[in-house]
């Protein structure tokens, strides 16, 4: 994707450069495809958000905002495990308690039951007491057992959680 176009959309160009770029944007047909794809990218971000939190690890404020518009049940784990009942729920939320007071960054790994990571949220939002995970009921139904592992910047495991999703 054209870097100048992204700089323009980000509002990062100085006034004269922006004016010059706008003249080229309206004259140069080679920018047309990049322009369409850039708009698609921004539309894609909004579409992701409309489907629920675009990131499955959320802050307290993002969770509070979600609960104002959707049915969300918060689950507190017992012995590293949560049992979520999906009936009537739009989203499943669970607290992942962990002592993260000394962590600089944490990543969250989504793992198979065998412990193999298949998805990683880099640099997840967290507090010193842990973090929050949210997934849509649709995703939860497709994932009866969801294993999470929280790792710090050195790769050390800080917490693990199993979410058992029950359709009823």
């Amino acid at each position: 994707m054209n870097d100048e176009l992204l700089e323009y959309l980000a509002g990062a160009m100085s006034g004269p450069r922006e004016e010059d770029f706008e003249r080229r944007l309206f004259d140069d047909a080679s920018l047309l495809d990049a322009a369409s794809r850039a708009v698609d990218l921004l539309d894609g971000l909004r579409a992701l958000s409309a489907q629920g939190p675009p990131v499955p690890i959320v802050s307290e404020s993002a969770l509070a905002a979600l609960t104002r518009t959707a049915h969300v049940t918060m689950h507190e784990p017992v012995d590293g495990r949560v049992v979520a009942h999906l009936a009537g729920q739009d989203f499943v939320a669970a607290r992942v308690p962990a002592d993260l007071g000394d962590a600089r960054h944490v990543d969250v790994l989504f793992c198979t039951p065998e412990g193999t990571p298949y998805f990683r949220v880099h640099d997840a939002p967290f507090t010193s007491a842990g973090l929050l995970v949210v997934c849509s009921a649709h995703v939860a139904r497709a994932t009866p057992l969801l294993f999470l592992r929280v790792v710090d910047e050195r790769g050390g495991t800080r917490a693990e959680l199993c979410i058992e999703n029950r359709d009823g």
């Binding site: 994707m1 309206f26 047909a29 708009v39 998805f119 949220v121 997840a124």
Partner: protein
């Protein structure tokens, strides 16, 4: 650079396909997503009307002419006026959507993976800007940055996201 000498001003379908995406980018930059679609439609309709009324006869000048239209629409884009124009724009919108070339949409699964692979601050700046529509000043205040930092970070983050989407792996930082 300038290909417009080949533009057939009587081909309104081609005119819409050529200029509506450019207008979308222009208004995304200046007003955010909220009113941008309406304004892009309005500007494109104004272009078609100018061509029909033969106020635009020289295809070699159409780029600058349309930029002028877009800037003029932007100057008069108060929210109340946008609401009044919405019905008018949508009337033309239906017609234009039939004329637009189908585009391959963004792969949402890959976009989701790429977004998650961004650093926390980069991700927050993008979501606050393009989903929440917070201003650079609001984001700067929330993240203890300067306006300039926000704009630079937003540019870098968009570029990283775009590169990720275009890469084969897609989900790797």
């Amino acid at each position: 650079m300038n290909e417009v000498t080949q533009v057939d001003l009587t081909d309104e379908q081609a005119l819409c396909a050529r200029w509506l995406p450019v207008a979308r980018v222009f208004f995304r930059r200046h007003v955010g997503v909220g009113a941008s679609e309406d304004l892009a439609q309005e500007a494109t309709v104004a272009l078609l009307e100018a061509v029909r009324a033969e106020r635009m006869r020289d295809p070699t000048r159409i780029g600058g002419f349309f930029l002028g239209i877009c800037r003029n629409v932007l100057r008069h884009s108060a929210r109340d006026r946008v609401r009044q124009l919405r019905a008018y724009s949508r009337m033309h919108h239906d017609e234009q959507h039939e004329q637009e070339e189908p585009r391959e949409p963004i792969d949402r699964a890959r976009l989701w993976a790429c977004l998650n692979a961004l650093g926390g601050r980069a991700r927050e700046v993008l979501l606050r800007t393009y989903v929440e529509e917070d201003s650079a000043a609001e984001i700067a205040a929330a993240l203890a940055l300067t306006d300039v930092n926000v704009r630079v970070l937003r540019h870098r983050s968009l570029a990283t996201l775009a590169r990720c989407l275009e890469s084969r792996e897609g989900s790797h930082r």
